[in-house]
């Protein structure tokens, strides 16, 4: 077995692009192999992984497309290797078939998504238009974990965490970034997880275990196909129960001055930085604004959102898509009688100033 030095020793303040951050985080998380197919804006995750991995005894395989990248990631996991991939836009679309299989078979894959403009090829640049697909894509039931990051420290922290969440709960796990985060540059602190007391979950093989199944060890049925409705129903309901049980342990969120907020800005990912900036400006002007940011979009901190929203007089949902996040928010606020205003900008960035202007306009 190749034993390499720890790629990161101690804590180090560094400056780089988000894609590079993900490659370093995967190294720090003891990822064994990346399977990938190029697509902007995530390419440098691959570029840096292929530069770094040989120095640390890790591996890379470029596949012929994203369907293959998804299935080979599953294959790597089944062989007991911590495997991951990264994709975007139409690549994410192709990933949905293998990730549905990962849901059905409880395969702990990790996939980093850098959202680009959509529908289809659209732009290589930026959007938040892969929310529906990443949370509920494929022909599954959304039995997956999605962390929506807002910058480079998040990308580092949640890429590491994704491996643990995936392997602990055995659900496919996504880091949902975007093209701005992929390409922008800002400082962050890199660290060795062990030095912060974060214990990385050890991978285990699904296949190729010692002994004869049924004789030396219990038989395992690794499958994504069922004969009858009843058989399928039992299998899905078991996954659903596991998912519901794990959800309270997985959900993460952030409240920014929501306690006395009249207007609650709900935003996720990089747009939450604009929301936070808007709260700061509005508070200085004596306007009671607050911000709720779900970090996990799936599962979702429903109770915490409802708590923040029930105290507010009105709600403003802000996102770089035409209502994909809004749909989630409405779902989790069902029955709560509060007016919801929106800033919906598919494929375009949103600034704190624009949010401030909208809230002042509405008063």
């Amino acid at each position: 077995m190749f034993m390499s030095d720890k790629p990161i020793k101690g804590e180090k303040r560094v400056f780089m692009t988000g894609n590079e951050v993900c490659a370093w985080a995967a190294l720090a998380a003891d990822a064994d192999i990346m399977y990938g197919y190029p697509i902007t804006p995530q390419n440098e995750v691959m570029h840096y992984w292929t530069r770094l991995s040989p120095k640390h005894g890790r591996k890379f395989l470029q596949t012929e497309d994203e369907i293959s990248a998804g299935f080979t990631t599953i294959g790597g996991v089944m062989a007991g290797r911590k495997s991951f991939s990264a994709t975007a836009g139409p690549g994410n679309t192709l990933f949905q078939e293998p990730m549905s299989m990962a849901e059905m078979m409880r395969i702990p894959t990790v996939v980093i998504i850098m959202q680009r403009g959509g529908p289809s090829t659209a732009t290589v640049i930026y959007s938040q238009q892969e929310v529906t697909m990443t949370t509920f894509g494929g022909n599954g039931e959304g039995f997956r974990v999605v962390y929506s990051t807002s910058g480079h420290q998040d990308l580092y922290d949640y890429t590491i965490k994704s491996f643990n969440t995936a392997w602990k709960y055995k659900f496919p796990t996504f880091v949902l970034g975007d093209g701005y985060q992929a390409k922008m540059r800002e400082p962050l602190t890199m660290y060795d997880p062990a030095e912060r007391g974060i214990e990385m979950v050890k991978p285990f093989p699904y296949v190729g275990k010692p002994g004869m199944p049924g004789t030396d060890r219990p038989t395992e049925y690794l499958r994504n196909t069922y004969n009858t409705e009843a058989e399928l129903y039992d299998a899905i309901m078991e996954i659903a129960r596991d998912y519901e049980k794990a959800a309270p342990e997985i959900i993460e969120w952030e409240n920014v001055q929501t306690d006395d907020a009249d207007t609650l800005i709900v935003a996720h990912g990089i747009v939450s930085r604009a929301a936070r900036g808007a709260v700061e400006t509005l508070r200085k002007d004596g306007i009671k604004a607050g911000h709720f940011r779900p970090i996990t979009l799936r599962p979702f901190a429903e109770e915490e959102l409802r708590k923040a929203a029930s105290k507010a007089k009105n709600i403003l949902v802000v996102e770089s898509s035409y209502g994909q996040f809004l749909k989630l928010v409405k779902e989790y606020l069902y029955g709560l009688d509060k007016p919801i205003d929106t800033i919906l900008r598919p494929g375009v960035g949103i600034t704190a100033e624009e949010i401030v202007a909208r809230i002042k306009e509405g008063r």
């Binding site: 400056f15 922008m184 400082p187």
Partner: protein, 219 residues
């Protein structure tokens, strides 16, 4: 004497920032200056969004206008003919060679680059980027770039940059340059920290005071 300088280096090492600052410095000396954006991969986070404001300052800017790339599709990464012939402009030529390891290869496409007697190629290095974080890694990296005539210490952490950090960068970069047999062209110091320095860094390298333009190139 005509000044022709190309800034190459690791992705996000500060090539554009240094190229812009150098161009404006020459312009302020009353010289005729052309700055060329030779990032053929990225559709954004180049100096393109700054094109108009740099032109207003008096620079000749050879770069795509963001509006011009509408309709070009995926990355809009075509060479303009002015880019191919950039070395034939009169006056000084400053080239911002984008996109990390592959960026330097673009010299194949620039007419006259191989024989230009005035061309200097400078590698921009920031040691807070872990891939060029120590002497050994810098040496290894610079050796992959092909011809390099000097190294620039551009060590910084954005808004968190300190004098100590810049000096740490100067020490590491100077050691790497020595091993490579190359000069350190200068140490870049963001203008807010200028008063904390004398005329050179602790290694004796000259300083270049940088105004940060690139934060305006995003959003």
């Amino acid at each position: 004497m005509r000044i022709v300088e190309a800034f190459i280096g690791e992705y996000a090492s500060g090539k554009s920032e240094n190229a812009i600052n150098r161009s404006l410095e020459l312009l302020q000396q009353g010289r005729e200056v052309t700055i060329v954006d030779l990032d053929t991969v990225e559709p954004f986070y180049t100096l393109r969004p700054l094109k108009k404001s740099l032109e207003q300052k008096g620079l000749r800017v050879i770069a795509w206008d963001p509006e011009e790339t509408h309709g070009l599709g995926e990355a809009g990464s075509l060479l303009k003919q002015e880019m191919l012939w950039a070395l034939r402009y009169s006056g000084d030529i400053i080239m911002d060679i984008g996109y990390g390891v592959h960026g330097a290869k673009i010299f194949n496409l620039i007419v006259g680059a191989e024989t230009d007697p005035d061309l200097k190629i400078y590698a921009v290095v920031n040691i807070t980027r872990p891939i060029t974080g120590n002497k050994e890694d810098i040496v290894e990296y610079v050796q992959t770039l092909g011809r390099v005539d000097g190294i620039i210490n551009n060590t910084h952490l954005g808004d968190e940059t300190t004098k100590d950090l810049i000096e740490e960068g100067a020490e590491v970069v100077t050691a790497a340059a020595k091993e490579l047999g190359l000069p350190v062209v200068y140490t870049a110091v963001v203008e807010d920290l200028r008063t904390q320095f004398d005329d050179c860094d602790a290694q004796g390298n000259p300083l270049k005071i940088l105004h940060r333009f690139m934060p305006d190139a995003f959003w």
